[in-house]
Subunit: 264 residues, 4 copies
């Protein structure tokens, strides 16, 4: 509702810079567009997203803009579907297309975290159970080390009350989610999904994939008895080491996405 | 047995309108046929149905008719396999083909629920365990919100006694199942499967898919400890929001089904 | 070791009818060969077998002969790989090929059970845990009803002692397994796998598939709390009903196997 | 860090044989290269490795050399990516390519175990939970018998302290891992993965695959109650029997890898 209010105000008060239709920061690096398109395909290929979920990247020409597809299934995203948004999550040119209701996840995190260059929101299946449980998600092996030892859970009831539709459908909810994320790499969203961030689309995808895998393995391990988790120091060291290896996985995922694209 | 009795009576007493061979309501909208064919493929693609299960749609020209394939595996259904049935689940023209033993699920639900336009019956694997357990299926996240907080379980023993074959093989059992469903979106069937309904084939498919996913995630979450489920208010709000987003998933599923069809 | 002894005796004492190289019963119905080839592919497609496991059919011209591939991965079996065996599991003409070490599973069951026309042996993954546990495999829904309410577990230690390699590598072990199977449809093999039988390759495959699915669903259901299983009467009635529906699944599986074959 | 130190020393002190750039043992048997390439594909196909993990084979011309790809995702490895290393894990000719940080796993095991001809390191998902738990991995069925009844777990904290990045990034850690492996077929690595060895690439792949499957089945079985594991004698006998059957699975895996290769 707030969304429509903002847009209406924006349309009515054209001229007030903060709410007016934003201007484009210019054409982004085509490689950035390619990475965000591939990111969509990869996340779908690996089951992190299904018909829902979205991934964005901060504009390389202007830190106050970000790039994300129109509202559509990630597996189908092509370069021409990528739109530019300002950090209030207003599209520079929506081209008459529907936008993601939850684009405020992205805009508000980019506002709060200048270091973040890419954001993935998903309903990654193995992560959902940790979001509705008191059991903390923790790094069980080096591949999920980036999540750190204190992954927050965002409870939308604390902000939106007991009758919300669980969606981050305005800037206020987006800002609350960003606050819950803090300086971390991932935030779980109770009854909804999760959001991970990165310094690039590749790192954000890598983290989204291994948040899913790590959650699945932790749940399995807990069924065997007490679990030895990574220490904070181990997690930090392993995350640094993995950051140098992201392209090894990315190249594999890219090839699979290209093969899929040729087939379809 | 009741089925054969009804049919025999129908053949013997041709002329009694209620039991005679029903007349066609005319050609349905081809888009409706396409949607029910795609629905079959999608449900198979996503593992909601295997060789068994069926999906129907109410006829757009006559609310007292519905459309469903002859007895066959859903993945193989083509437009020419779709037959027309009256609400007693008698085929207008069976074309000499075998019919689903359990078509009464569909006819009796269409009788009891004028708002229902499509029905999916399946042995959706993650749902089966909830049907044989005292553990209630509940919405764990917004995607399964449509099921509401009180999903009924149909116990066929209450109607057919302790020695049935568990199939809804006549109108009496179909009516009992419809009564168990009540005004809800889904009903579990103990020792058998589940049935979900919708205002369109797309909504019914969406609900069948996320009943399966929701059940899987709930089972996982319960293993982590106590679970925070959606409140009734959250479930209602989220279901309303999701209803505006169904085509995003449908378009993805359609493309996958088309690709599969081309391949095969 | 017993195997080699038997063969050696057979070669040395050529002339003793029981142990001599058996004579062929003649060419089997090509449709039978086709069904056993398809059965191999289907079982591989559906994950009931991997590189190991085998399926046989009794010869239609002679109840004292059965047909099964040479020792090879089921997914790769073609018509020319099918060999004829007598019920002592001696190949009529091995064509210089290696034979399954465990072919005695098949021969001894055909001896003990004249009603059995096809046998599937596999390491079907969801069934293995029930073979090593005190928890009984039971029919949780109509699709697994054929297994009945008292599925036996064969403990090879009772026959071969504590140091066997767990394989049914001679007629004595095969006969003991057949005895454990009794008049049932399935027998679990502790620390090894399972064997199911049928009145046709199609029924045996159907049963192998739904033994696997039923085991998986039962394990899931048990984690939710106490489970309502099918009564003996329900299981019998449902098994009879399902037996009329096998071809619905078989046709689907056949199409998938053919597509796979064309691709490869 | 130790790695770079060694390399620097090697470059500075060229002439000291132990640390100098190693000389090639000559061209290996092309069939060995083919097996290690196929091994990479197979392990990826079967989900034992993802973008990470590696497999090596000892050089057939010199037991002090081994062959392994440059640092890359296993699914993409081709013959031209295979490099030669000495047992200090220095590449004979790195061709300017990045090397696996953890190649010391391979070199140190080849030093300690003259019988070992191939090594697989992976993050095989079902095995990870056993590495972080007090629950011992044990053979639940004949296919996982090779692991024996006492699979060791390597705790890197015992060697590298509480703040390592969990990687085997130098010879000292590799030697400690090799010591933990002892005379066994597999060693779990806490918070990281596992390593299996074999007398050939085929046996090492076979063992890696059935370590994964065995772990998954054991976890499932434990949820059903107390488990009857293979005795030590059964495990030994079954392992010997399986060793004669490896090519049955290998041929299947090879065909699948070739099909995949043609497609991509």
């Amino acid at each position: 509702m707030r969304t429509f209010t903002l847009l209406t105000v924006g349309l009515c008060l054209a001229g007030l810079p903060a709410l007016a239709q934003p201007r484009s920061a210019g054409a982004p690096d085509p490689k950035l567009i390619e990475d965000v398109v591939v990111a969509n395909r990869v996340l779908a290929d690996l089951g992190v997203v299904d018909g829902f979920g979205h991934v964005s990247v901060r504009h390389d020409k202007d830190p106050n803009r970000y790039l994300m597809s129109r509202s559509m299934a990630p597996a189908l995203v092509k370069a021409e579907d990528i739109l530019e948004y300002d950090l209030d999550s207003v599209a520079v040119d929506a081209k008459g297309q529907a936008l993601f209701l939850e684009r405020f996840i992205h805009g508000e995190i980019y506002k709060a975290r200048p270091d973040v260059m890419a954001v993935v929101h998903s309903h990654s299946p193995s992560v959902i159970p940790f979001g509705v449980s008191k059991t903390r998600l923790q790094p069980i092996y080096h591949m999920s080390s980036f999540m750190g030892v204190d992954v927050p859970v965002f409870e939308i009831r604390d902000v939106a009350g007991p009758a919300s539709d669980l969606l981050i459908r305005d800037a206020r909810l987006g800002a609350a989610l960003a606050q819950s994320l803090g300086q971390g790499a991932a935030v779980l969203m109770r009854g909804h999904g999760s959001t991970v961030v990165g310094a690039s689309p590749r790192q954000a995808v890598f983290r989204a994939v291994y948040t899913e895998v790590g959650a699945r393995l932790q749940a399995e391990a807990m069924r065997l008895g007490s679990v030895t988790y990574l220490t904070e120091e181990e997690a930090e060291a392993a995350a640094r080491a993995n950051d140098t290896q992201i392209d090894r996985a990315w190249l594999l995922w890219l090839k699979a996405a290209q093969r899929r694209s040729m087939a379809g």
